[in-house]
Point group: C2
Amino acid sequence: MNKKLKPSATRKHFALNLRKTRERLGLSQEALADAAGLHRTYVGSVERGERNISIDNIERLAAALGVSPASLLAEAKQ
Amino acid sequence: MNKKLKPSATRKHFALNLRKTRERLGLSQEALADAAGLHRTYVGSVERGERNISIDNIERLAAALGVSPASLLAEAKQ
């Protein structure tokens, strides 16, 4: 098992923003993955905060969703 | 050599924001690296857009600088 059991706050913000934006656009994880050139299971694990995603993949996902990379890292407004 | 010779736009934004914020605080690359638990040469290469930095390291650098991770990815205002 991984020593880092809890995803970082930033991973959690990214995961939540990614899922919310994807669902707002009516995209499945698979459709988003295809649009971003990534694998569906990878997108799923990112949305669970399990991946230490890189800046290049953050950019790919943001581009596929039509939002800025910065917006996907922002802390959600309650 | 790397096939991806040009850093992505997001890498460039991050690199520029990181350097500007670090210099505004009067920190050397070494002081920032120490505060973030990273190596000085790693911080230097990130500031040149050479690294596909991960979200956990983005968070470490943002925390060491006292800014939000999202702000470091934002496109610079001209």
